[in-house]
């Protein structure tokens, strides 16, 4: 039983880590602007495309990696400045529509450049190799992802809780006006948030596309949506929530993918039933159940009790 489940569990944890890196971008931007940044999944996809073209143009991979992360961060910064900042005082719905606009602009731009063809993601040597852990043989990236995710999340939490920038971010997320009275430049803090979110999505894209190997203009849609679900599931606005939510969704989704085989080998069903088809639907069903029981998600904004 364990031998059958383990490989699915392992890839679930890995996918969960990749979702987590994207989900943090959603949750941080929501925390500060109360905006669902629909373009975030596409930033993740664009990071993949940049990597493909940069590697194809002969730039050594070790140079590509930091350069892609830098460019992805810059794209996040630019999107905020061009599409969201001018709408700072506009109703939230307008900003959201602007985000949808950015999402399609990025997709169409990539469609124009690639001609809608699948692009083969370059092989990053040290994470593309195979490794055998117990009963599972998998890519090194599967093992690297959760570790790297945890390290990055830890660093981010330290930044938010123990630095001046982090303190400003927490202040701005509660009260724009009073933050300004403290001398905080809120636009700079918001930009920082987008840069961090995009950077992490860039890291996520390297791990994700090493696993899935092809990039196309719609590649950001599903992982973006799943990461968004993870962020809501965990309680949007909460970073630990987004991470825990992402791991739960990643694991649940992969267990469902292997459910036929797991049940078949356990002798519970006579022949495969094609349950794997429902793995995406399951993610959303899970979201509905959680939100029905706990509308603010697992770690949703806690209300402070007076003592």
């Amino acid at each position: 039983m364990f031998n059958t489940v383990f490989p699915y569990l392992l890839s679930g944890i890995s996918v969960g880590g990749q979702y987590a890196l994207i989900a943090i971008g959603y949750t941080m931007v929501y925390g500060i602007l109360r905006l669902i940044n629909f373009a975030h999944g596409d930033v993740f996809m664009v990071a993949g495309i940049i990597m493909v073209y940069m590697a194809a143009s002969g730039v050594p991979l070790l140079v590509c990696i930091p350069l892609v992360l830098l460019l992805t961060s810059l794209i996040g910064f630019a999107i905020e400045r061009i599409a969201y900042k001018p709408l700072r005082t506009a109703p939230r719905m307008s900003v959201m529509i602007s985000a949808i606009g950015v999402s399609y602009t990025l997709q169409n731009l990539v469609l124009y450049i690639t001609g809608g063809l699948n692009q083969i993601y370059p092989t990053i040597p040290f994470i593309s190799g195979s490794v055998t852990i117990g009963p599972a043989t998998t890519k090194v990236v599967t093992v690297v992802t959760p570790i790297l995710t945890i390290v990055l999340v830890f660093a981010l939490v330290q930044l938010i809780n123990h630095t001046k920038v982090g303190m400003a971010m927490r202040a701005v997320s509660k009260d724009f006006e009073t933050s300004q009275l403290m001398g905080i430049n809120i636009n700079r803090v918001i930009s920082t948030t987008f840069v961090i979110g995009s950077f992490l999505a860039g890291v996520g894209s390297m791990l994700y596309f090493t696993n899935y190997t092809t990039v196309i203009q719609t590649s950001g849609a599903m992982p973006g949506l799943k990461a968004f679900v993870a962020a809501v599931f965990g309680g949007i606005g909460s970073i630990p929530g987004a991470v825990v939510g992402a791991f739960i969704i990643g694991i649940a989704e992969n267990i469902i993918k292997g459910l036929d085989i797991i049940l078949f080998k356990a002798g519970l069903i006579a022949k495969p039933m094609g349950l794997a088809t429902f793995s995406d639907a399951f993610t959303f069903a899970l979201l509905i159940v959680i939100l029905a029981v706990k509308p603010t998600g697992l770690f949703g904004e806690k209300t402070i009790d007076k003592v």
């Binding site: 303190m167 927490r170 202040a171 509660k174 006006e177 009275l181 905080i184 402070i304 007076k306």
Partner: protein
Amino acid sequence: MSLLKVMNLKVSYGGIEALKGVSFEVEKGQTVAVIGANGAGKSTTLRAISGLVPIKSGTITYDGNVISGQQPQQIVSEGLCMVPEGRRVFPNLTVLENLRIGAYLRKDDITADIEHVYQLFPRLKERSWQLAGTLSGGEQQMLAVGRALMMRPKLLMMDEPSLGLAPLIIKNIFEIIETLHEEGITILLVEQNANAALRIADYAFVLETGMLGTQGTGRDLLNDPAVKAAYLGKGAGK
């Protein structure tokens, strides 16, 4: 020399004129009170000075420089700080972090300033690790004042510091304002609690629907029959 000079200040919100040409000066070292009814434009005056609301016309001069049109963060950096209405402490930050964020623009050592605030408000020291959202209203007001002091303001503007507080706490807050005055901080105080405000004010203005009315020393206004009738209520000002 006056530290703050407001000349013919006009502010409107979507066509409604909240301030219809207000002019006044605040002398260095003075405590100046602005009293008036709800909707008279008291808060708007302070918000316009601190750069939070755009002004329609007029000029605001602070310490010899025109500050109207500047960003709030720039105005704060020049030592013009505000304790906003309703305290507005950051509920998700600890008491100590709230004080630290008050000194956000400062690059030098702030340890002595934190100690100074704790001396003024010993309650805050006891609760320094507590989230500000868990404090009582009075403690939050102390924190809001302490937070503004962290910038070492030359001019401290306070918007209704007594709002919604128990009489004993109000007394305490006004004592602190007097202490700050003795420390040499210039204070511009907006209050509905006219009685308490006029008692500590060197100079005071009455603001009526966007225009300045009576003005004079705090004592003059306390004894002014019209002010008495409108803002102090029966038996006040004794």
